[in-house]
Point group: C2
Chain length 320, copies 2
């Protein structure tokens, strides 16, 4: 942990999860992040938080917790710099570095997606073969749940990037959702041949011959409706623009109308293809959303999901 | 009407609407189209249908109607050609020509979108300034309803095309929904500056200075969530790929969970910017969906929506 960090956080306790929380990320930071951190602490007694950002905001969390719980909070103060934008982005950079240096087990940020992806790629390193780490979201479906990626990292990906995302998504569905042989679909606007743009016309042949981990298999073209029903695919790959628009539309519809399944996943996305656990919430996330994101990061750390996925993909690639 | 057409359809009766129905269009044609045609006829005694396609399918509609109602059905037979694809697409071409020749007032097809757009542009003509006619869908929102375009015609539009679509969408919201000064938003993945791809970064400046008909005004960037709530925009413009994916996702969510508003618009899109009324249903449309599409085409014809919109846009452009 860097010299600026303070407080005692227990390392290596069974079940303990130490999450570095970016107090500066999000449309309503730090207020809703403070709220989310408090909710998460209250819900999980084995959770430790490293609060990265202004000391006053971290102080609000400490002040609201009973004395016995304060030992679970560490702080990594960041003071405002000259440029507001760079100051805000330094929150996620510092949170990522805390994980890289072993001071935390995972990062939670609701800040700018581009800054988070870049910080994570540089600070933690990308897995072999990963050019642009994708953000993978989980949506409830009438059949259960489904992994949608990318939802905002690669706006205009090339073919190879989407094929890599299919591999990462397949590993995610296997490790985190326990799906035996994940079915992977490509999102497009009609299942007739030749529909969609150049990317969508080139991808089916590449996806059909891609080796997907954990017995994953490409099941063909899917449409927006299939992301709601979940009956044809466990994983749906698309560009980050389309994925982000669809995710925000469906999440809001489910928030208004109730989810299509009793199981309602957290409104948080995992950054795949980096060597560490980085969970991203929407900029507009609420306190409960952020608490769910922190709990999700803790769950992923406890099941060593990122390491297991990386090993699964390396094995599939034939690398010992 | 061409020599191949038969039957008596009344022209110019008050309230009468003559809809040319493409029996060959859609994933489950002609069966569900026959079902939709029957439902539409039963629901609206002033409706006349010109059934375009195989005589056997048209015969099924006639056979299922009481004798008194059969006078409201005309047929335009099409026999299978050598190439299945071209045969199927000849359904919508013939339906469009029937409108161009005055034998019908509007077209309804659930067939291939590209074939429908091309047939309509060639057969009916495009309005001045329209390069690629967009498909405009209406979605229910928590606040009421919203026009989303394009939903499948322009997969990779240039800036000028999207600005034209904003004009057409503004006229649509004014004429069909009675919105006084339509608010037009641009769909993207975050409302911070610089988010999205090249198209989304170039468009805000162009949309801000575009003259939109009926007092329409550009209200800025919107996200997938705003298409569900409907609180910030009456019209949302996007490329046809993103629009199609979002439309199919939300429509399916609303079908599963119930719509967010008591008013539930038909699952059918109007082709804007052509000189005639062309309504498109999804390839996977059900009988009730097709009946709703036919009723929607009849409503648009009865209010002369397409002519009123064209005049509104011409006035705005300063053309007398």
């Amino acid at each position: 942990m860097g010299a600026a960090a303070s407080g005692q956080s227990s390392v290596g306790e069974p079940g303990t999860a130490r999450i570095a929380v970016d107090l500066l990320g999000g449309d309503h930071a730090p207020a809703v992040v403070v709220d989310g951190a408090l909710r998460a602490c209250q819900a999980d007694p084995a959770l430790h938080l490293l609060l990265v950002g202004p000391l006053e905001a971290a102080g609000e969390v400490l002040g609201a917790l009973p004395p016995d719980d304060r030992a679970r909070i560490s702080t990594l103060p960041i003071a405002p710099g000259d440029r507001v934008e760079s100051w805000v982005e330094s929150g996620v950079r510092s949170a990522v570095l805390a994980v890289a240096q072993g001071a935390a087990d995972a990062v939670l940020s609701a800040g700018n997606t581009g800054a988070t992806v870049t910080s994570a790629a540089l600070g933690l390193g990308r897995c072999p073969g990963v050019r642009r780490p994708p953000l993978a979201a989980v949506l409830p479906t009438t059949a259960g749940r489904l992994v949608l990626l990318d939802v905002g990292s690669s706006i205009d990906p090339d073919e190879e990037t989407v094929v890599t995302h299919a591999r990462l998504g397949s590993a995610y569905a296997s490790v985190v959702h326990g799906v035996a042989e994940p079915r992977v679909g490509l999102l497009t606007i009609g299942t007739e041949r030749g529909k969609g743009d150049r990317l969508r016309r080139a991808l089916p042949a590449l996806l059909a011959r891609a080796d997907l981990p954990s017995g994953g298999r490409y099941v063909g073209l899917v449409e927006g409706s299939d992301v709601v029903t979940g009956t044809v695919a466990d994983v749906v790959v698309t560009d980050g623009f389309t994925g982000n628009v669809l995710l925000k539309g469906l999440e809001t519809a489910y928030a208004e109308l109730g989810p299509p399944h009793r199981e309602n996943p957290p409104r948080a996305a995992l950054l795949l293809g980096v060597e560490g656990t980085v969970v991203v919430c929407h900029g507009a996330a609420s306190g409960p959303d952020l608490a769910a994101g922190i709990a999700f990061a803790a769950q992923l750390h406890r099941q060593a999901a990122v390491a297991v996925m990386a090993e699964m993909i390396e094995t599939q690639r034939g690398v010992p």
